[in-house]
């Protein structure tokens, strides 16, 4: 069956891409200034040890080197590292060696996935109807208002909007939504809104564009000539076909949303992938930073795969290949 072949081909492509990401990340960190172990806490501990007990320090460094494979040539290290990551064998981080990375991911990833998923869902649920509305009311006040607002929404980054929301619900209208932390449903509202705004704007704009185009198509006129009711003409004929074009836009939106999640989590102090990743990069925590990029890249590529399958499902002209 074509689907199996398509999926296996895509999975191989994903594996190759992700290996390349891991390799590039590893090499860039490897050549970065400072030693491999110069992460914040670990580096401090090591330099104290170097002063107080050089022998123990050397033993310790040697054990670290053999553990992380640093006594091998770089190419071997890279291959090893990629292989371990691909088999989800992440080990522990430099900064928090008592908790395996996989456990930290298990608590952080669902939070970010929830935020990103919520934002994309909201974007589709709001953006598609708004785009259709703008297209149907083309060149009216409603249309230009929607178009202008969505342009603003597209230009203003999520972190600016997040800070604005904190200001709005923390200072001006306090007590409606919590503006900080994580744990209750209410605390998810503002982050999702901040994340979704840009997506809603993009989806609205592209829905409008593809709807305007679709409404001009000959097959829409054919449907009208058949006497099909306006509502059905818009939904079954125009919208159904513009969804095909829209899906190609949703793909890149995922990457954008995942990155925005990192930013918004910072502003709202949410313990998701954003805090893991930014802490890891700031601390130069090698395993943690590469692993978090790895996981998020997988997430993006997985979602793109789903979108591609959806695209092929929506457009009968495209064959799975």
């Amino acid at each position: 069956m074509g689907l199996v072949k398509f999926l296996s081909k895509r999975l191989v492509a994903i594996a190759i891409t992700i290996s390349a990401v891991l390799a590039v990340g590893y090499v860039l960190i490897y050549i970065s200034p400072g030693t491999f172990y110069s992460s914040t806490n670990m580096g401090q501990g090591l330099s104290q040890l170097q002063v107080s007990d050089p022998t123990l320090y050397n033993q310790y460094i040697n054990s670290l080197n053999s553990r992380y494979g640093l006594n091998h040539p770089l190419i071997v290290q890279v291959v090893d590292y990629v292989w371990h990551s691909l088999s989800f064998n992440f080990g522990t981080s430099f900064e928090n060696p008592s908790v395996p990375i996989i456990h930290q991911l298990a608590s952080a990833l669902p939070i970010s996935a929830l935020l990103a998923g919520g934002a994309v869902t909201l974007a589709v649920v709001l953006g598609v109807p708004l785009g259709v509305l703008a297209a149907l009311k083309r060149n009216t006040l409603v249309d230009s208002a929607l178009t202008t607002v969505s342009m603003v929404g597209q230009a203003v980054p999520s972190y600016v909007l997040a800070v604005l929301l904190v200001l709005l619900f923390g200072v001006w209208f306090p007590g409606i939504f919590p503006v900080n932390g994580w744990g209750t449903i209410g605390e998810a509202v503002l982050p999702i809104v901040a994340l979704a705004a840009g997506n809603v704007a993009i989806v609205t704009r592209y829905t409008r564009g593809s709807m305007v185009e679709a409404l001009r198509q000959d097959y829409v006129r054919t449907a009208e000539a058949k006497g099909v009711a306006r509502r059905r003409v818009v939904l079954r004929h125009a919208l159904r076909n513009s969804l095909v074009a829209l899906v190609t836009v949703v793909g890149p939106t995922f990457a954008f949303t995942v990155i925005s999640t990192l930013w918004v989590e910072q502003i709202f102090s949410i313990p998701g992938m954003g805090s893991l990743l930014s802490q890891a990069f700031q601390d130069k925590d090698v395993p943690m930073s590469i692993t978090s990029v790895y996981i998020l890249s997988l997430l993006v590529m997985g979602m793109n795969l789903v979108v591609d399958m959806l695209y092929r499902f929506l457009d009968p002209r495209v064959k799975l290949e």
Partner: protein, 359 residues
């Protein structure tokens, strides 16, 4: 006329283009009766498609009907609400469009597209619609209807798609079928098949057909009556016989002179000089005058009315009598530019005696 199916009178359509207006249709009148085939012939931009689309309420963009009536079964289509028009479209009046590539919804199975009209009009039950679809596929010459029902348009060739379009258009057994350039996008051999198919369907149901085409051969092949449009006005309207034997408008004569037939030599063809331009104000004189070699001062000053010339033969030309009188002498040369000599005698398969004036 009481026995007419659709009778359009003095139709006016305007488009807005930036600050200016384009006058696309300027007082066109035509009618078609049951079982009759009316051909509307003209160059692109002559307003032939626009007049029919506006009657059906299918105008796009800034197009607007600014005057006229279109009586169909006792109702003026131009005054109906959207809902009422939706009821008539597809049920009482079917339509076929030019490009079968783009006129079918690419994401919908063709069976569903054929059924859709019937279901919208509650023409029959779901089951009935399914059976009728299979029957229609058979009628329009698509074998293995059951298997083809689930196909998508891209899996069909152009000719097959046009057959599907026809099946869709006649699904509810309309009294009138409007075919807007139905064969233009097709291969010549397929064109003939489609025209024959239309004729067969017409004979079955005494359906009236309006065939819009720029192709003279096609029109003379299947139409009972032909009107020639130019600049949104009817230039000449005549039964096929008169049309072939006694064309009375210089434009008609010119059009015929430019038909390319098998065996025609280039020097035998006469192109009409110049080209049709969009009208940015309503015509006050004969719109064809500037391209007409017979144009007199009067033609540049006075709008020729559409006047009767014979039984059912109407023409909008000040000098129609002269054109007629000159037929068989030298009009062809005068109208069509360079003296051409013999024009191929065959026009669209019909023997065209004295069609084009011979030198």
């Amino acid at each position: 006329m009481a026995d007419e199916l659709l009778s359009v009178e003095d139709l006016h359509v305007e488009f807005e283009r930036g600050d200016s207006k384009v006058y696309a249709v300027n007082g066109a009148s035509f009618s078609v009766g049951p079982g009759e085939t009316l051909g509307i012939v003209g160059e692109s931009g002559s307003g032939k498609s626009v007049s029919v689309l506006s009657v059906m309420g299918l105008l796009r963009g800034s197009g607007q009907v600014t005057g006229g009536t279109a009586m169909f079964m006792g109702k003026d289509l131009l005054k109906l609400r959207r809902r009422q028009l939706e009821d008539i479209r597809g049920r009482d009046i079917g339509m076929i469009f030019q490009d079968p590539m783009s006129s079918l919804n690419p994401t919908m199975r063709i069976g569903d597209q054929i059924m859709e009209g019937m279901l919208s009009h509650q023409y029959t039950s779901r089951k009935g619609a399914f059976n009728r679809t299979l029957q229609l596929l058979d009628e329009v010459g698509i074998p293995e209807g059951k298997a083809r029902f689930r196909s998508y348009p891209h899996e069909f060739s152009g000719g097959m798609r046009q057959r599907v379009m026809i099946a869709m258009a006649v699904a509810c057994e309309p009294q009138l079928l409007i075919a807007d350039e139905p064969t233009t996008a097709l291969d010549v051999t397929v064109q003939t098949q489609i025209l024959v198919l239309l004729r067969q369907l017409q004979l079955k149901g005494r359906m009236g057909i309006i065939l819009i085409t720029h192709d003279f051969g096609v029109a003379t092949n299947v139409c009972d009556r032909i009107i020639v449009m130019y600049a949104g006005k009817v230039m000449e309207s005549a039964p096929l016989v008169d049309f072939l034997a006694r064309p009375a408008h210089p434009y008609t004569v010119g059009l015929k002179g430019s038909v390319i037939e098998v065996g025609t030599k280039a020097h035998q063809l006469r192109a009409i000089p110049g080209m049709a331009t969009a009208l940015t104000e309503p015509p006050r004189a004969c719109p064809f005058a500037e391209r007409c070699q017979l144009a007199a001062d009067r033609c540049l000053e006075e709008l020729p009315p559409l006047r009767p010339l014979g039984l059912g033969h109407y023409v909008a030309c000040h000098r129609a009598e002269e054109v007629l009188a000159a037929a068989g002498t030298t009009v062809g040369a005068q109208v069509g530019g360079p003296v051409g000599g013999q024009v191929g005698g065959q026009v669209g398969g019909q023997v065209a005696q004295g069609v084009t004036a011979r030198a």
